[in-house]
């Protein structure tokens, strides 16, 4: 009796089991979540990385940031204003040189260009400007800069080829036309 019922079920391909609605749709997500959870539970990686902060740090940091931003508004010093300062300083220096140069002829002749450059060079050398490469890149247009302006030695074809020869594994891959450099 029982076996005949089973046979009938097989014949009709009727499945008497059921699953909750949407079971298979959400199966993948639930499996992934469980795997992630198990990975964390079984992991040898510690749960904490041990970093601590001084007591009351969060209370003090907002006023510190506000005093350097909003309350400093207008005092924010940009590179452009440094430049204005250099021009101003150079102009004042020029006036001094002219006035003193005319009044006391005994003083050795100092060329304006030398003085201005020397002062500016000394300033750059002795003061660390808080300008990073991003800020410089924003201010200096590439259109106005020749590659040779920023290199200590002029870059010629020979230097480029020597560099490529030393650093590139297979120089032939660059498909250079050597006849240009011969």
């Amino acid at each position: 009796m029982f076996w005949s019922q089973i046979k009938d079920m097989k014949k009709d391909k009727k499945n008497s089991f059921n699953t909750p609605e949407g079971y298979f749709d959400s199966f993948h997500d639930r499996l992934m979540a469980r795997m992630e959870k198990e990975a964390q539970t079984d992991s040898v990686i510690p749960k904490s990385d041990g970093f601590a902060i001084p007591e009351g740090y969060w209370d003090g940091v907002t006023p510190k940031i506000m005093s350097k931003t909003v309350k400093e508004n207008g005092k924010v010093i940009q590179l452009k204003s440094y430049r204005t300062f250099y021009y101003g300083a150079a102009a004042v220096a020029a006036v001094f040189v002219l006035v003193f140069g005319i009044n006391w002829k005994s003083t050795p002749t100092v060329a304006f260009d030398d003085l201005a450059n020397a002062e500016i060079d000394a300033y750059f050398e002795s003061n660390e400007l808080d300008i990073n490469t991003y800020e410089l890149a924003e201010l200096v247009s590439l259109d106005n800069v020749e590659l040779n302006d920023v290199l200590e030695q002029d870059l010629d074809a020979e230097n480029i080829l020597q560099y490529l020869d030393e650093t590139v594994d297979d120089i032939d891959e660059l498909n250079l036309d050597y006849s240009d450099y011969e």
Binding site: V44, D49, W58, V61, T62, I65
Partner: protein, 180 residues
């Protein structure tokens, strides 16, 4: 929860900027601090970089076009500031990035704001062996418990690539911890 669009609008208007900026700082300072701290490791350095990050945000808020979410823009600035800070630090000390990482971990042992023991130190040594991106993904996911979608926006990387990076990072860290 703050309405991001309204906050951005207020940040760009001179009369409401100060108040809005304070809201921004208070909303994001902790999350950004921990993100930065896990890159630079030392509290004082993290404090410096956090302040630099907000200064940069303040100076550039007018340039924020809203093409990405505000928090992802903040995370990007914080990440760049942290990595630039480390580069400058190694350059100033005249040592390689690798050497700097080793020194940073050694210094943790005497850091009063590091309460970890041997296993946490080992974890830092393991993290130092990972490429920057993998380390970032791991700390953002494992310790900051960020969603992949949010990390994806902040690091401008697809969710699939992040999942792969995270999986690789976990495997590398686990095998380092087991072997050492």
């Amino acid at each position: 929860m703050i309405a991001e669009e309204a906050l951005i609008k207020e940040l760009k208007q001179k009369e409401s900027q100060a108040k809005a900026f304070e809201v921004l700082v208070n909303t994001y300072k902790e999350r950004l601090y921990w993100h930065i701290r896990r890159i630079v490791l030392n509290h004082d350095d993290a404090d410096d970089v956090l302040q630099n990050t907000f200064i940069k945000v303040y100076r550039n808020i007018d340039g924020f076009k809203g093409e990405s979410k505000l928090y992802s823009w903040l995370y990007r600035i914080a990440t760049n500031e942290s990595l630039t800070f480390l580069k400058q630090k190694s350059k100033k000390a005249g040592i390689s990035d690798e050497e700097l990482k080793n020194r940073m971990i050694e210094n943790l042992q005497s850091d009063v704001y590091f309460e970890g023991d041997e296993i946490q130190l080992k974890l830092q040594r393991a993290l130092a062996t990972l490429p920057d991106k993998q380390k970032l993904v791991f700390t953002m996911k494992y310790f900051q418990e960020m969603k992949y979608e949010d990390i994806s926006e902040a690091l401008e990387t697809s969710v699939g690539a992040l999942k792969a990076s995270y999986h690789l990072a976990v495997k590398k860290i686990e095998s380092y911890l087991k072997e050492n």
